[in-house]
């Protein structure tokens, strides 16, 4: 076991982690390190396509207030409005900052950053770089981190968070490349480990590793998780693989059609049509499929029609969409509509953090998709996640710097690291009745079937039982690869166990939230119920391994709840 000593440790090397590292590196002489289970540029921020929302100085007629209102309305009034206010006001500052660092934003003919319309937005305020916005941001942030000599520990996997009930003391990690548990003593930790939509293993737009590692570690360390029942289903995942087709495809004028060729969105959101928020479009598509108006021999998908945009516009604005449709679906969008269906995409819920990204444990922060601030409430608007990632990467970095500057040395005990070592050894020596791939598939199917786009008390309760059964069986999953070095068999099992721990935190509040709000759509309670449920759900893991649900008020400042119509 190696022991390391840092002042600030950032876990995760995606957009939030890198931007935090950059702002920490530029604003302190403290020792900062980034730990990531992959190389930073592999992170899933790179797959964000459509863009990043911000009101810029030249956005005539738009304002941060309008952006905040759209965000709150999109969230179905569950977002905390003080946090939304901070995020929307910082929009221009982070956009200009990353543009100055080299992000090649698409430009208007006059040289200013171009913006396009996006779902649920009252103005075209989504800045973009072709359809690879996240990719360019991630690459640029990595370049800038190299420039600032940021210390990276690549291919290190977070195991446990160590705190004394009041403040953070350190973390333990598994060194994938060399094998072995390390204990890192640190004054501050920023969790930027991304989302957990891989819990829907068989139908998701997420990368193979979006397994909520930081969220699960926080849960096991006794931290509260907030609003976990809200999982965003992206309306347009490729039919065969769930791989994402950007909302930009509809932003640029794409149509959704059912098997009769009808632009059915006119029945669901007559004004916004295809550009209604994601939850509404996803439900519309699912309804069309469920009611027998889906396309294809099995009627299990809907058509995203871009053919009328013409080859030139598709090549210029949506080159990656075209490439992916050809490669993974065998369809050229210039000639034919793309088969799509909803796909699990984004975790609105996550580690409970306040408007500055602080968790209840001092010195422990959360930023990006693993956090629930909450700026997205019950449904995130397209283009707001990259903004969230940058704003909170930066804010948590500044908070962590301030805190670590004054904090005293910590003394984490080595007990946790020893426990983790034992746990890993046990996995390799387990009897192994259960096979990872099968159980993981079962988990994914259970989540999709019982906690999918539409939910209902009876099926959810059955689902929760199944999840608990899977959790029990997961104890008998065997790691077949017994080598120390680069044991991806072990890592995938650890990832799976994280998903297994997280699944009930989605299921339990989903059952108890007896209303429909944002992405949480219940057939048995189709209406929003502000009187009883305008509140955040909070789930904790108790020492005996059971889950505890409580509720917490929503911060409402400027925008009182109103009916959400598009």
């Amino acid at each position: 076991m190696v022991e390391l000593d840092y002042d600030i440790v950032i876990v995760g090397g995606g957009g939030a982690g890198l931007y935090a590292a950059l702002w920490a590196a530029e604003n302190t002489i403290l020792k900062v390190a980034v730990i990531t289970k992959v190389y930073p540029t592999r992170s899933h921020t790179g797959a964000a396509e459509g863009g990043i929302n911000a009101v810029l100085t030249h956005s005539v007629g738009d304002s941060p207030e309008a952006h905040a209102y759209d965000t709150v309305k999109g969230s179905d009034f569950l977002a905390d409005q003080d946090a939304v206010d901070i995020m929307c006001k910082m929009g221009a500052a982070v956009i200009y900052d990353i543009a100055h660092r080299g992000v090649p934003f698409s430009r208007r003919p006059d040289g200013r950053i171009a913006q396009r319309p996006f779902g649920g937005a009252s103005f075209p305020r989504t800045c973009y770089a072709a359809d690879k916005t996240g990719f360019y941001i991630l690459q640029t942030l990595y370049e800038q981190c190299l420039k600032n000599n940021v210390t990276f520990f690549n291919e290190w996997f977070l195991l446990s968070i160590i705190h004394n009930g009041e403040k953070i003391e350190g973390i333990t990690v598994w060194d994938i490349r060399n094998g072995g548990v390390h204990l890192i003593k640190t004054k501050a930790v920023i969790l930027a480990t991304g989302g957990h939509a891989r819990v829907y293993w068989n139908r998701t737009s997420n990368a193979l590793g979006n397994t909520g590692d930081g969220t699960a570690a926080a849960l096991r360390a006794g931290l509260p998780l907030k609003d976990m029942e809200f999982i965003q289903f992206h309306p347009t995942g490729l039919a065969k693989t769930g791989i994402l087709v950007t909302e930009g495809a509809r932003g640029e004028g794409g149509y959704l059609r059912n098997k009769d060729g009808e632009r059915f969105m006119k029945r669901y959101a007559p004004e916004k049509m295809e550009l209604a928020p994601r939850d509404i479009v996803a439900r519309a598509i699912q309804t069309e499929i469920d009611e027998g108006r889906g396309c294809g021999p099995n009627g299990d998908y809907i058509c995203l029609d871009l053919t009328h945009l013409g080859e030139e516009k598709i090549n210029e604005r949506l080159p990656q969409t075209r490439e992916h449709a050809i490669l993974y679906e065998g369809v050229d969008p210039v000639k034919e509509p793309i088969p799509i269906a909803p796909t699990a995409h984004y975790s609105m819920g996550g580690i409970d953090a306040d408007k500055l990204g602080r968790t209840p444990i001092k010195g422990l922060y959360a930023a990006g998709e693993c956090a629930c601030i909450s700026v997205h409430g019950a449904n995130r608007l397209g283009g707001n996640s990259l903004l969230d990632v940058l704003v909170y990467g930066r804010l948590t970095a500044l908070e962590a710097v301030k805190y670590a500057d004054e904090a005293s040395e910590t003394k984490p005990s080595a007990a946790k690291a020893k426990d983790d070592e034992k746990r890993i050894l046990e996995l390799m020596e387990a009897s192994g009745k259960e096979k990872l791939a099968d159980l993981r598939k079962e988990l994914g199917n259970t989540m999709m079937k019982h906690f999918g786009v539409f939910r209902e008390e009876k099926t959810m309760k059955e689902g929760l039982e199944k999840l608990m059964e899977i959790r029990e069986r997961a104890k008998h999953v065997k790691v077949y690869d017994t080598s120390k070095k680069f044991n991806t068999d072990l890592v995938t099992v650890l990832e799976f166990l994280n998903l297994v721990d997280l699944a009930p935190t989605i299921a339990i509040p989903a059952i108890e939230r007896k209303e429909s709000r944002g992405a949480h759509a219940r057939k048995d309670y189709p209406k929003r119920d502000d009187k009883n449920f305008l509140k955040h759900s909070v789930v904790k893991l108790k020492d005996d391994g059971s889950y505890e649900l409580s509720w917490k008020p929503v911060t409402i400042t400027k925008f009182p709840p109103e009916e959400r119509k598009y």
Binding site: V38, Y39, T41, R42, S43, H44, G46, A47, L56, T57, H58, A92, A93, Y96, A99, H100, G102, P104, S106, R107, R108, P109, D110, G111, R112, I113, K132, F135, Q139, T140, E143, Q144, L146, K147, N154, R177, A207, L208, G209, T241, I243, L244, Q320, E323, H324, L327, Y328, L436, A437, V479, Y480, D481, S483, K484, K485, F486, N487, T488, D489, T492
Partner: protein, 371 residues
């Protein structure tokens, strides 16, 4: 269901004395990455490879298939089976990097190499506002200059395929030069950084590239490192970094072609490597073999016109400044001494003699679009 055989490279340095190949039968469905995941899920969970996004943006899963570098998630199994017509598909780790385990290689070294070329923007405060609320204006057309290079996702396919990396450990690798070049053509990047990048590129093997173009061929994202390397070389010469053999060879080509219409093999060793004896030895050897030796080619009819057209081509490629007129005048003087007349007189004389270089001129005109 149609299946195919993958022969996968296996090597665990902890356990295996030597690498070996293991065969797996996989469905011909989806991509090569799907096949590898199929093996891991169903046949052998110890198989080790990197993969993450599965949609060709993260660059994790490059491997070799029957010697050719491929991004696994971008390679349909059907295509592989059709290309190799039933032959087994041998899946191996990338070249030029240490194998950590099975298909996983150590990519730290190429990243460290890239880092030496300043692959980040060093903003020029006269162009990029220091006020964070002030936008820097960039016109869409100026972004054309680096529209390909920004697609590099560090998959190291080009690094694996590169001939120069194979020969020269110091060589930074094709992608690293493309990452560097992206900032060389960005107006916002400060001049001092651009000069440094050139200097570091030269010590990182800029002139070692043999222009085999494999990097262009294997790049899954349409980046063209070999072209970027040529452009970096051009910038190096323009910035006065001419003391490397590669730069001197380029200078020899440009100057001699302008002066005489062709390169001069007799003077090449001397001008590029400072080998003064080579010319005498070559002359002697040729004479002994009975081969007629021209120290300089006799100027042909139309040489002056040729020079105009050649200069026009260089100007179009923004390389006119590569031409060193003092060197050209030196060559002219040499020609005058040998043919006992100034260059114009000789050309006029060949006109009278009726010797022609029509072929050459029409060829050049073709290059210029028939003007």
């Amino acid at each position: 269901m149609e299946t195919a055989i993958l022969q996968v490279f296996r090597y665990d340095p902890e356990k295996d004395q030597a690498p070996y190949y293991k065969e797996y039968e996989v469905p011909v469905e989806g991509t090569l990455l799907n096949a590898l995941l199929y093996i891991k899920d169903n046949l052998d969970s110890t198989l080790t490879f990197r993969a993450f996004c599965r949609s060709e943006v993260c660059g994790s899963c490059s491997v070799k298939v029957n010697g050719k570098t491929k991004l696994a998630c971008k390679t349909p199994m059907k295509e592989l089976v059709e290309t190799w017509k039933g032959k087994p598909l041998r899946i191996e780790p990338l070249n030029h990097m240490k194998v950590i385990k099975d298909l996983v290689v150590d990519i730290d070294k190429p990243i460290e190499k890239m880092k030496t070329l300043i692959p980040w923007l060093v903003p020029d405060p006269r162009v990029v506002p220091t006020d964070p609320m002030h936008e820097s204006i960039i016109y869409p057309e100026e972004m054309e200059a680096y529209k390909d290079q920004i697609h590099c996702m560090l998959c190291f396919s080009c690094y694996s395929a590169c001939e120069a990396v194979a020969d020269n450990d110091r060589y930074r690798g094709p992608f690293a030069f493309s990452k560097a070049y992206r900032f060389q053509v960005d107006r916002r990047d400060i001049e001092t950084a651009k000069e440094k990048r050139i200097r570091y590129a030269i010590s990182g093997g800029l002139w070692s590239c043999v222009q085999c173009q494999k990097c262009i061929y294997v790049c899954p994202k349409g980046v063209k490192p070999a072209e970027d390397i040529q452009n970096l070389r051009g910038q190096a010469v323009k910035k006065g970094f001419t003391d490397k053999p590669g730069a001197r060879k380029l200078k020899h080509f440009v100057d001699w072609i302008y002066a005489t219409g062709q390169i001069n093999r007799l003077y090449l060793p001397e001008e590029v490597y400072g080998n003064k004896e080579a010319r005498e030895k070559l002359t002697k050897a040729y004479t002994e073999m009975g081969v007629e030796v021209w120290e300089v080619p006799k100027p042909t009819k139309g040489l002056m016109k040729f020079r105009d057209i050649y200069l026009e081509i260089l100007s179009k490629e923004d390389k006119a400044l590569d031409l060193d007129f003092s060197h050209v005048r030196k060559i002219d003087r040499m020609v005058s001494e040998i043919f006992k007349a100034d260059i114009c007189t000789i050309v006029d004389r060949t006109h009278e003699e009726g010797r022609s270089s029509k072929g050459l001129i029409s060829k050049l005109k073709g290059l210029l679009g028939g003007k």
